[in-house]
C-alpha cells in the first residue's frame, strides 16, 4: 500500500476505506442529513468532490480541513447515500492521513487531543477511565477549565472512579497498540 504524500488520494482512500469516491455524483444527500454540517468548513459532499479531482491543492485542503475532525461518525450519510458510498469511512481515512502527514487543522486539535487521551488511557490500562482521560485531555488540549464544575457532581453520583481499573492483559494490549502503529507507518 503506497500512501506517501505523492500517491493519488482517491487510490489511498480506496485502499484504506474500500470506497470508490469517483462514483459520487454529488447529489448532496449526505450533506442534507449531516448533523455536523453547520460546524464544518467543507460539507460532506464537498469532501467527496475534492477527493475525486486528483488535484494536489484539493488534497491539501482536505487534509488541513476542520471538517474531517468534526465528523461525529453518526453514519447518516452512509445510510442514505443513493450510490451506496461510505462518506464516513472516507473521512476516517482522511483523518488518519491528515495526522500521519502532520496536517491537522489547528481548530481540530482539541478533538484530536480527546481521541489521543482516550487511546492513551486504553493503551496503559486496557480500559478507558474518566480521570486519566480527562487529565490527559486537559493537558494536551490546554483546555484546563473545561467541566471543572461537573467533577464534584459526578463524584457524588458514583460516576467518577478515582482509581482506574487495570486489566491483567495490559502487556497484550500494549503489543496490539504497537502492532497497529507499525501498520500505520508501513
Amino acid at each position: 500500500m503506497s500512501q506517501g504524500p505523492d500517491a493519488d488520494l482517491a487510490d489511498a482512500v480506496r485502499d484504506a476505506a474500500g470506497v470508490r469516491v469517483e462514483r459520487c455524483y454529488q447529489c448532496g444527500k449526505c450533506t442534507a442529513g449531516c448533523p455536523m454540517a453547520r460546524h464544518m468548513d467543507l460539507a460532506p459532499n464537498q469532501i467527496m468532490r475534492l477527493a475525486q479531482t486528483g488535484d494536489p491543492g484539493d488534497r491539501e485542503a482536505l487534509l488541513r480541513s476542520l471538517a474531517i475532525w468534526c465528523c461525529a461518525g453518526c453514519l447518516t450519510c452512509t445510510q442514505r447515500c443513493p450510490r451506496e458510498l461510505d462518506p464516513a469511512a472516507v473521512i476516517d481515512a482522511l483523518r488518519e492521513l491528515s495526522r500521519r502527514e502532520g496536517k491537522v487543522s489547528p481548530r481540530g486539535r482539541r478533538i484530536l487531543a480527546f481521541h489521543e487521551a482516550f487511546l492513551a488511557s486504553v493503551e496503559h490500562t486496557g480500559r478507558m477511565s474518566e480521570v486519566p482521560l480527562v487529565g490527559l485531555y486537559k493537558l494536551w488540549s490546554g483546555d484546563i477549565f473545561q467541566d471543572l464544575a461537573v467533577a464534584p457532581a459526578m463524584l457524588a453520583r458514583g460516576k467518577l472512579p478515582l482509581i482506574p481499573h487495570v486489566i491483567k492483559g495490559r502487556t497484550e494490549i500494549r503489543r496490539i497498540f504497537e502492532a497497529c502503529r507499525a501498520k500505520e507507518k508501513a
Binding site: A72, L75, F177
Partner: protein, 293 residues
C-alpha cells in the same frame, strides 16, 4: 507467531450470557450497569462478565487508526469465545456497535479476520453472537419477564431514542428500517407507558464530542429534547451512555432520560435506587407516580 497467552477459561453454564459492560458502565453510565444486572436477576438470566475484557476503542480508535478499531473489539470477542460464551451482551450502544460491526466485517472479509488475529495475537472462530440492550430486554420479555411486570407505569408518555448507534451501521438492527426502528416500542409498552411518534428517534446527539466540541452537543441535544417536548413526551428512553450523558447531564433539567433497563426495572417493582435512578443529573424518580422508596 507466539501462541496466545490467555488465562485458563472459566467455563460457563449452558444458559450463561457473556457480559461485556464496557468502560462507561464503571463510571458515567453506572446506572446502566446497575439496572441491567438487576433486571437480569429478576428475570433469572445469568450474566457472566468476560474475564479481563478490554475497551472496544469506541469513537477514538476508528477516528485515528482503523487497525486498532478492529483489533480491540477482536480481542474482547476472542476472549468471550475462549471462555465458552456463545452470546455476549453489550448494553452500551457504542460498544455494541463496535463489537457487532467488527463481527460482521470479519465474517465478510477473511483477509481482515486473518489480519486482526495477527494484530491481536489470538485465534477467533467467529462463534459469538453479540446482543444489544434492546435485543437482550426483548429476549427477557419473550422468555417470561413480561408476565412479572407487576408495577407498570400507566399514563406515562415516552419517546424511544435510538440515536445513531442503535439504528445505523452494518448488522446493527437486523431487519429493521434504519430510518424508523421499532425495537424499543414493545418493551416500553410492556412497562405500561405509551409510545409517542416524534421526529428525532434516530438523530445524532453529538456523541463523543461532549468535552471536545461541547457547543455542538448542546445544539444537537437541545434539538432532540425540544422535539420530545413538542411531541408531548414525559420522558426519553435511551440505550446509549453518550446519548444519556448528552441529554441528562449536558441538558440537565430539561426532561427525565431513562435507560430502557431502568424503565423495565421500575415496572418489575425494583426500587429507583437499586436501578441507579438517583444518580441522574435530571431527576428521573419523578416518573414513578406517587414516588417510591
Amino acid at each position: 507467531m507466539t501462541p496466545p497467552r490467555c488465562p485458563p477459561p472459566p467455563r460457563g453454564g449452558a444458559g450463561d450470557i457473556g457480559y461485556y459492560p464496557g468502560c462507561s458502565l464503571a463510571g458515567g453510565a453506572v446506572e446502566l450497569d446497575l439496572s441491567i444486572r438487576a433486571l437480569a436477576r429478576v428475570a433469572g438470566a445469568e450474566l457472566r462478565e468476560i474475564d479481563d475484557w478490554n475497551c472496544c476503542g469506541a469513537t477514538a480508535a476508528h477516528s485515528l487508526n482503523h487497525d486498532l478499531a478492529v483489533a480491540l473489539p477482536f480481542r474482547a470477542l476472542a476472549l468471550a469465545e475462549a471462555q465458552g460464551l456463545g452470546t455476549v451482551l453489550a448494553p452500551c450502544a457504542a460498544c455494541f456497535s463496535r463489537l457487532k460491526g467488527t463481527l460482521v466485517r470479519l465474517g465478510r472479509d477473511p483477509g481482515l479476520a486473518e489480519r486482526a488475529a495477527r494484530l491481536a495475537g489470538l485465534p477467533f472462530q467467529g462463534k459469538v453472537r453479540v446482543v444489544s440492550i434492546n435485543g437482550f430486554i426483548n429476549g427477557l420479555l419473550a422468555d417470561g419477564l413480561a408476565g412479572t411486570l407487576t408495577r407498570p407505569l400507566p399514563g406515562l408518555k415516552a419517546v424511544p431514542y435510538y440515536g445513531c448507534l442503535l439504528s445505523r451501521g452494518e448488522g446493527i438492527n437486523e431487519g429493521e428500517d434504519p430510518e424508523s426502528p421499532s425495537a424499543m416500542e414493545g418493551a416500553i409498552k410492556a412497562a405500561g407507558c405509551s409510545v409517542l411518534p416524534w421526529n428525532f428517534a434516530t438523530e445524532c446527539c453529538g456523541g463523543g464530542f461532549s468535552m471536545s466540541k461541547t457547543e455542538a452537543v448542546m445544539d444537537l441535544g437541545g434539538a432532540v429534547l425540544s422535539d420530545a417536548k413538542a411531541a408531548g413526551a414525559d420522558l426519553v428512553v435511551v440505550g446509549c451512555p453518550m446519548c444519556h450523558s448528552n441529554l441528562d447531564m449536558r441538558r440537565r433539567g430539561a426532561m427525565p432520560v431513562l435507560y430502557l433497563s431502568e424503565l423495565l426495572g421500575l415496572a418489575a417493582g425494583l426500587s429507583p435506587a437499586a436501578l441507579g435512578l438517583d444518580r441522574h443529573f435530571t431527576d428521573a424518580r419523578t416518573v414513578c407516580a406517587g414516588g417510591r422508596p
